[in-house]
Amino acid sequence: MIVSADHKTIVLVGQPNSGKSTLFNVLSDLKTSTANYAGTSASVNKTEINVYGDTYTLIDLPGSYTLNPISDSEKLTTNFLLLEKFDLIVNVVDASLLTRSLELTVELAEFGMPMVIALNMYDEAQSHGIDIDIDQLERKLKVPVIPTMALYGKGIKKLMDTCYNMLNRGVVYPEYWEFTPRIEKSIAEIKSKINIPGEYNGNSRFYAIKSIENPVLVPEGIMRDVKSLRDDAENVIVEQYGSDGFEAISYERHHLSMKLTEDISTFRITRRRKLVDKLDDFLLHPILGYVILGGFLMFYFFTIFVVGNAIGGLVDGPISKIPGFYEGLKAGSPFLWYTINGAYQGLAGIFGIVLPYFLPLVLLTSIFEDTGYLSRTAFLVDGLFHKIGLHGKSVVPFILGFGCSVPALYAARMIENPRDRMITGILIPFIPCSARIAVIFALTAAFTGPIWAFVVFAYILIIVSLSGKALSKALSKPMGLILEIPNLKTPSLKIAMTKTWVKIRELLKEAFIFLLAGSIILGWIEYFNASKYVDYIFSPLLKTVLGLPEQLGSTLVFGFLRKELIIVMAAQALGVQSVADLPLTAHQVVVFIIFVSLYFPCLTTFIVILKEFGYKTGFFSAALSIIIAVVSAFLFKIVLAM
């Protein structure tokens, strides 16, 4: 349940990059929470705001170009508007992209629910040479229009005053604009047959239009009544316009919004090219663009590494003191000790390793996301990613994957095509995260020299490419890339910090219980000395297939909890003090590294995959990684023995 019954609800609706989320973040505080919507992985941001003593629920719906959804997040927005109870729409319009933004406004006016327009980025529009007659726009649409600059908090008070007045003194409904007479005639005919089911929002004209444009959005009951009329209407459209119903309506709205823009704004040609456009000449340059991207990636990793290390160092001391507090239990009540220690290991992993890297990673990503640079990187690497059957949009999750798979999986949400999102989600666990990089470096440094670290990395990249290619071949062909490159903007640190906090809380909330339970079970395995049974189970694989000591079996189970534990556990399992003393040959170490780098992701990653992609994809991803790990390690064993 997203909407609470107690308070009136305001929903923010706008196109992607319209500044809707900035507006939401300016209005909300840290009480913000995200709510998942049934059947999708997309989520909405929700908060409660207090205006002159009244509490309202404020909901930030995912950006949507139209109410004809394609991606999961757009489906959420449309479904929400059609079916959830709310009191007022705040349509956030990007004033600097007036014509395109108004296409959604025209559609919302057809929808016919109470509405206020926040004409956002008003300053940017003026610097683009667009002067907007706000009174005229109000007269045309019959709803209040408030100019805002969300990033600087300007116009926000007036916007909230307007919402307050509307909700207390009576809401106003927008006036729709008429299409060409032939189409209006069909709409009028269909409209007369429509009875909207009680749970649906919107007016009958809207459903009449949708029955021609996008029938899947129309409730079945309505479709039954109007089927023959809408088929006739579409036939006429095909005959007269040479396009299907969807396109014809889209063109109608396109013309209406162009007409509306013409009526309410004047465009001055500005001679001066803006600084952001000049910057783009460098950022998107066919050669310089890649040099800057390389520099950016180095800065990005370096900062995350240094800051993550520093935070890790800070929390490491206090965290490592915790076992001292329950040490006394070990002799008296060992079962309790193993239970607490299991929980401790899992929590130490998330607070000591995942969070220190997660924090700078999410903060930095939020900042760069807000500047608009991330979509430029997607543009630059799109060609390269095509070679593995994906789009440039997957680059961000992949980069994040080198830090930690968990934020990478969350970042995959930005990919709207479910197929690409799934492939990216399955590939992410193969990208060596910082914990696995640590294992690779520690073991190669002790046994084989750094050259093998490169061999391992190169091999993993080949695996990622081949798996990507194979998966994309197996699945249907994706829709071509259409990626908006929003104007460059100055980010706000405060907003980035709010977003970071919300994401961290989301991670803890979703993974905490599972992680705790999983860790405690591993603690019990230790208590019941079940590791020898675990070793026994893994023996055929480790000893026979891979030629490794069977005692490493339980190590792999602990590696599932925290991959960096592998080194400590391997040393413990084989009864030595330090990594270098492990009774393994250099060849065995390489086989072992290959196996641990590729097999099953860690527990937290697995849980997040299940949450984000569902059980089918989660178990498929796990099975695939185990198969690839076994085959790869076996191949290395054979090749090295030659």
Partner: protein, 88 residues
Amino acid sequence: MHRVIKLDIATKKLTEAPLNQDLQIVAIEAGSESRHRMNSMGFHIGDILVKIDSNRWGPVLIQNVTNHATKIAIGRALAEKIIVTFKI
């Protein structure tokens, strides 16, 4: 006396069209899903756009002049299905 009228309009795929020049969309020969997506993002037949950047294997970067919109990157496969006319 006859005057020779020279047709100075060319029609090409977006991938082959010149950079930094007004191009008018005359057809989007892609599947309905991609076509609808283009429509939703503010691209329609008749719109004027400018191709800003493109290399041999990457996506094509365009800007819609008709609605003063932002830049949009279009995958190469899709860009090949967008037909534009322009003055030569």
